[in-house]
Symmetry: C2
Subunit: 262 residues, 2 copies
């Protein structure tokens, strides 16, 4: 199978760098083809702007959505964007690996999402009708592919527990796992999270590496998070609220996971 | 009073641009001093990297936290970072205005947070003991200041309702409001959110502008979101989980708001 690792850490001689190298080796040893988009090493342009479209009259008003739509349809996107889209099409599985900074992905990776996720590629796909509100949240251009986060964080596991001060890790990652990965069609596997990344000794590193190895071995066998499909009957359209009889007691992010405990 | 608007939209001739201009006028007309950090116009460097520290041996291993700590302490940060820190110190209130892209702030603003929020400035502040786990979540360098988000989103209000598919807006914004603003000490006002930003006619724009004006007039009177203070007795230290007798039935983001309905 084909695996794309999108990776964002400024220092190769880091915990993230070591785990990235390990992941590539482990996947290749299992016979998979691996590509790495090492965003720092690529000097990835983080900022979405008018320069992302190569055929604009310079004085024209820039519309991030509509210019993206036209450029994607007409093949006038910047080359760096088109190359990443081709990698996504090539991949059977995508791993986003990053240190959590301020409760989300580093800016350079957020900019990868914003620029690569063109209108017509990752959103604005499919028809809108009374029963179908675009191909998204379970359908879309990236349907049939799997995705997984590999995340390091300085905080402790308890800080990200159900009643931890930072909020539950599943909720902190929901805007990424549901909003960025499930939205264009990925099946999203449970994340691999490394807590207290600043307190890593040799024994804990070996343990972490082995646990990551098992997750990589299970990339095609691990059940994905059962997010609810937008157009499969659970939601009112176009309000996109859960129907009254679907998990009637529940609100918030977890209500969009079928069978979650709360 | 002094108000800093940190603003991120690539096109001045946009809804965001019009609301930004209106906000500056309204605040100045009320006698406030206003500075705007227009990140696109400033060509803000979005990516945190080793170039942010001016006194590093080029071959040294780059540690985002420890290099930030040393550079902040020794005055060897890049000038653009120090200038933004000075604006934050000057401000009595800070407004972050942005279009929501993929359920968070644009990369260029995320990079503003990552680079300006130095170790020793926005985190890594205060002592750690059995009763006090750093000056954060209600204490910190920015305590005594107020902050508010002004956010546009293409989605409908129902999509961000309690059972809406994108998740409740308060939860989508929690990593920013609690994790980025409350963490270093800001009092955080309820956000001003404009839904269906693509469907704005003159009447709705006038209504939106007036509603924003009222929120700006109330910048010093509006009660902040009652996030729980980390070191005031609600949390176990160092686990940083809510004590058993604090909102015992509740989990998730909302548990960290005193008196919230769920």
């Amino acid at each position: 199978m084909n695996v794309l690792i999108v990776y964002a850490h400024p220092e190769p001689r880091s915990l993230n760098g070591a785990l990235r190298d390990f992941a590539v080796q482990r996947l290749e040893a299992a016979g998979h083809a691996v590509q790495v988009s090492d965003l720092y090493a690529m000097n990835w342009k983080a900022t979405l702007d008018a320069d992302d479209v190569t055929d604009r009259p310079p004085a024209a008003r820039f519309d991030p959505s509509l210019d993206s739509k036209r450029a994607f349809a007409q093949g006038t996107q910047r080359d760096d964007i088109a190359r990443e889209q081709a990698k996504l099409k090539w991949a059977d599985a995508v791993i986003l690996q990053f240190p959590m900074w301020w409760f989300s992905m580093p800016a350079i990776m957020k900019g990868w999402v914003e620029r690569v996720y063109a209108y017509g590629f990752a959103y604005g796909v499919g028809e809108h009708s009374d029963t179908h509100w675009g191909d998204r949240y379970g359908e879309g251009s990236l349907a049939g592919k799997r995705a997984m986060l590999v995340v390091t964080t300085g905080g402790w596991e308890s800080h990200y527990g159900p009643r931890g001060i930072n909020g539950p890790i599943d909720d902190v990652l929901f805007p990424i796992q549901h909003g960025i990965l499930y939205y264009p069609g990925f099946e999203v596997l449970p994340p691999f999270v490394i807590y207290r990344s600043g307190k890593m000794d040799d024994a804990r590193f070996a343990q972490t590496r082995d646990a990551l190895g098992e997750r990589l071995d299970g990339l095609w066998a691990t059940p994905p998070i059962p997010f609810r499909r937008q157009n499969a009957g659970d939601y009112e359209i176009p309000a996109l609220t859960l129907k009254e009889d679907v998990a009637p007691e529940r609100v918030g992010f977890a209500a969009h996971v079928d069978g979650a405990g709360r």
